[in-house]
Every structure is written in C-alpha cells, then in structure tokens.
Amino acid sequence: MLELIVISTLNGVLFGMLLFLLSSGLTVIFSMMGVLNFAHASFYMLGAFFGFQLTKWVGFWPALLLAPLLVGAIGMAVERYGLRNTHKHGHVAELLLTFGLAFAIEEVVSMIWGKTPLDYRVPTLLDFPAFTIFSTNYPAYKLFMLAVSVTIFVALLIVLKRTRVGLIVQAALTHPHMVGHLGHNVGRVFMVVFGVGSALAGLAGVIAGPALVTQSDMAAALGPILFVVIVFGGLGSLPGAFIASLVIGLVQTFAVALNGSLASAFGPLDPSAGPSVLTDIWNVTIAQVAPIVPYLLLVLVLIVRPVGLMGTRES
C-alpha cells in the first residue's frame, strides 16, 4: 500500500507538472489575448512528432532544443497570419479558428506519420533506473521530465514577475493601449507570447513523447483535460492552473492505480438483481472511472464555485 502511495504520488506529480507546462502556456495566451487556444494540445502533439523525427536525424538533445523552436515558429505564424486577421470578428471566431486548426493538425500528423504509435524511445543516456523503492525501479527519464517541468515553471515565474520583459507582458495583458502608447509593439508582444506558449507546449511534447504514447490522437486525448484544468483552476489564473494541474494529475494517477469497486468493498450485489444501471455502478472499478474523474471534478467545481479555484473574473 505504501509502495503504491509513493509511486503514485511521484507519477501524479509528474503528470501534474506536465499538465501545468501545457496549461501555463494556455493560460498566459488566454489571459493576454482573450482567446482560448484550442490547438494548444495540438502544438504539444507536434512537439512530440517533431521530437521523434529530429531525434532520428540529429539525436535527442538537439531535438530537445530544435523541436520547441519549430513549434514556436508555427505558433507565431498562426498568430500573425491567422488570429490577428480573425480578431475583428470576435473571440468566438478566434476560438473556432484554433478549433479548425486542431482538427487540421491532427489530420496532417496522421497523414504523414500514420495512425499507429511511433517507436519514440528514451535517450540511452537516461535509460536507466534512477532509484529503487519497494523493489520498483523508478526510471531516470521520469526524473528528468520532472526536473525540466520544474525548471520551466520557475523560469516562467521569474521572467513574468522579475524582468522588464515580464513587466511589459503583464502590462499588455491589462492595458494594451497604454503599453502601445509607451512605444512598445503590442502586436509583436502578442505574437511572441503566443510563440513562447506554443514552444512550451512543444517542449512538453518532446519530453513526454518517449514516456507516454506518441500517436496522432494524443492531442484529442489530452486537450479536454487541459480545458478542465484551466476552468477548474480559474480562467486566467496561473497559480490556479498550477494547483489544478497537480490535483488532477494526482487524482487521475491514483484512480488508475486503484482497482477497488463498490462490489469489492461491500461484496457483490444479489445476482437476482440482474444487469441494470445499479449493478454497473456497483461493479465498475475506480481504474475504469479514472478517465471521467477530471470531468466529474469540473462539474462539482462549477456547481460549488463557478469561477473556479483561484478565478476572480466572470468571463
């Protein structure tokens, strides 16, 4: 039991940090431009696929640098040639544009790389067990993922809170016109922020690719959870996104690890009851429920606190 708790906590924190790496970019883009980037998870997927391809060509470490840059460049192009022109039609049009983009990216990826999972391996340098607890080997690569996520998180906080660039970005969030009058190119600031957000997603993809499955539906699988994270945490709130990422990461990891059901706790129902909704619910294991847990959390939070954990504004 203790073994399960320790391992699940580690994995949960890991998954949570990965979620945060993605939702931080999404949150910054959202609070800055008011546009919810539906294609954010697709940029994550592009990161994983570019990482795979570049690893084949130039090795993992250069790929770790190049793939996020590529994804960031694509993000900047999307902002410059897509979102900026769509802005005049309102936020719904921008949201729809990124929705169409997510759809198209998934199709392009499965067109080029196929629909089956890729053989994206952990680099040999990190392919060893870091430590052993309760006879379980914990892979070094996962520690590396955790380290990268934490580093990015800290770096992002420092850049946003402590530097001049962060000052301009934060000011442009709330007072774009004032920042413009002070002589900063707000359009370019938006473009760069969108690019950096996409690059972060791409980085998450490159490092998550070998550990999770790299295939063309990975964006569709992760995208909805990202939205749960940022609604759950409160729209536009970075600390909220951080807490929500960790909560959802932990809850989901624990749910997957647990195999109990009501039937195993209280004994099976009378077989004469026959198949019904009740027996379904009675017999379903917690692991089976794991995929829907984030959405249940979403509904609960909405009923209790519609603005989310740390959210302050209505919409």
Partner: protein, 430 residues
Amino acid sequence: MTAAVTSASHLAAKPAGSRLRFYAVWVIGVVALIVLPLLFNSGGSLTSFSLIGIAIVFALSYNILLGQTGLLSFGHAVHYGLGGFAACHMMNAVVAHGWPIPLPFIPLFGGLGGLAFAIILGWVMTKRAGTVFAMISLGIGELVASSSLILRSVFGGEAGITTDRTALPRMFGWTFGPQLQVYYLIAFWLVLSAIAMYALTRTPLGRISNAVRDNPERVQFIGYDPHVVRYLAYCFAGFFAGVAGGLAAISFEIANSAYLGAIQSGLVLFATFIGGTAYFFGPILGAILVTYLQLGLTSLTSVWQLYFGIIFIGIVMFSPGGIAGLLMMHRPLVRAGTLGMVIPSYLVAVVPTAALAYGVILTIETVARYSGGDAINLFGVAFNPQSPATWGVAAILVVAGFFVARSTWQRIAGAWDRAATVARDRGYLA
C-alpha cells in the same frame, strides 16, 4: 407578450408580396422534399437524403445555441446521442410491452431524451456564456461520452443498442421497412421541426435570446435573467437535437457511443458554421454541403477530414457569415442592379483560384499517398506521388496560384466597393 404583438403587427405591415414569397419558399421546400426521392430513387440517394434530413434537424438545433443565443457548444452531440438511445430503448420497450405507439411518434421520445439531459445539466452549464461555456460543454461532452462506455446496461458498451423499427405497431399500413418510407418519416419530422424552430425564432424567447447573444447586460437591465434565457434556449436545442438523434436511431436501427462523441459534435459545428449562423437557412445549406462532402469525399480520398478542416478554417478567416452570409451579401447588389459590376472580376479570379485549389489538393494527396505509392488521379490528370515532377507542379501551382489569385481578389474587393457605393446611392443598403 408585447414583443409578440409587435412582431405580429410587423408581419402584417409587410407588403403582401413579401409574405407570399415567404410562404412560397416553405412550400417549395416541402414540395422538393416530397418530389426529390421520386426522381432520384436509388437506394444510395435515398440513404443520402435521409442522412441529410437528419443532419439538417441537428444543425438547426445547434443554431438555436450558436446563431440565436451565441452559445458555442462543443458537446452538442450529447443530446443527439442521448436522444438516439432514448428512441432505441423506447422502440424496444414498445415491442416488448406491446404498447400502441407507432413508429412516427418515436422521435418525440428521442427529443424528450435530449431534453431531459438539458434540463438536468443545462442549468449549471449556462451560468456563463462565451469561452467558458465552450469549455464546459466540451468537458461535459467528454464526461457523457466516457460514462456511456461504463454504464453498459444502458448504453450497450462498445457495440451499442440495436432495435427493429418494423416490429412497432403500424400506421396507415406503413411497415417502415423500405428506406423510402423511412425517408418520408424523416422528411415529415424535418418539416415539423424546421417550422417549430423557425417559429421559435419569432417568439419573445427567440428575440430575447438574440438580445442575450448581443448584449447580456442590457437584457439584465430590462428585467430578464440572461442565465434563464440561455437555459431555456439550451433546453430547446437539446430537445431538437434529441429528435435528430431519434431519427438517426430509426434510420440505422442502432445507437452507440459514437453518436455522443466529440467527432459528431465537431461535425455539427462545422455544418452550422460553414452554412452560416446568421440566417435560418444557413445551417440547412451547411448540413447539405457537409453531408454530401462527407459521403462524396470518403470514397475519393483517405484524408477527407483534412479538407473539412481547411474549408472550415477558410470560412472562419474569410467569411465568418458562412455560405449564407456570402449569398446574402449580394442581395442589395441584385436589387440595385449593380451585380454586373462585380461579376467580371469574379470571372477573372476563378482561374488562379482554381489553380491554387488544385495545387493544394495535389500537395495533400501527394503527401498522403507518398509512402503507399498509389497513383493520383486528379480531375482526369494522373500524377505519380513519388516523382519529383509532381512535387514541382504542386509547388508551382500553390505559389504562383496564390500570388496571382491574391491580386485578383484585390480586384474583386475594388469592384465590390464600387458596386456597393452605387447600390447605396440608389437607396439599397450594402
């Protein structure tokens, strides 16, 4: 109440000619629904007509949210799917218990299935509009779609629930075995739902929904709660989506978890938006187009969904009013008689635009078939996806086509401005 009086008197104040035209459009639509299957009576076209009919009801119900109330939902298929399951269960129950309910009434139960879910979760979902609603609808959609695989006894797991439409009590001696009879059932419900949904846009609720879409604060000032209005609109949309789901369940005699899924939600969003949300007939056009594209493209290419995505992005970027918006833009020009000023520039633009489109299609097909090595046959011209010449041709078509087409589009914009100015001078708004 007052709004109803005003709109009624407004209708009465209209010249008799425009009212006549209004009813004529509906009558022509109904006649077309009746006559079309008699002209094209092969099994394939009957199936496509049925699919299109279902898609139209579904898209119209979606437009109650998107177009009327300004709610962008990414989980509308939940109502469609639940309606389908409700209809299937009802049909099986009717057969099992021998209830005297004939098949034509089944879509009503589908609608109630969709409505039930809207009543339960809609209140929480419609608390906020805009982006938040979009995300929540996505989350709830995923919730229902994944739960459907867990609750096997209700949703039948992966396989879904099957039913037999011919086992129900007969009405007018129709067995509903042949596809033609099913088509007429769908057409009947299509007309009924379309009239009901059109009428809904004319009611005070429909009008206040538009107001909530445009400015919720002012609606609050005049004493309505935007949340309640959104909730009611959501319930109506859920009901009609359920009707569409019920029709689908009758047509396919099965309901499974794919009905509820994100793909179905995405398709209805595509159909509605591509058709145009600002006009009532927009979603109808969109549903027809998307269903036909879906049926036609699947046999031609493996990446048909990519074409959907590209068309959708193009519409979002260049014509947010959809196809209906594009068509209606020309109305003042037609009335003012200045359409002739624009048409030559359209004709000039057709050639480079077609070349650009051809290049894009060639590029996509080349990439898609590169590893397989299947030959490409594009409008009668054969290409080998692995030869560099194909890549060259595609690149030239795309690049040159784009730059030439862009200059012709600028010509269109210029001609359009001149035509619109003249139309405005003659007293027609443009």
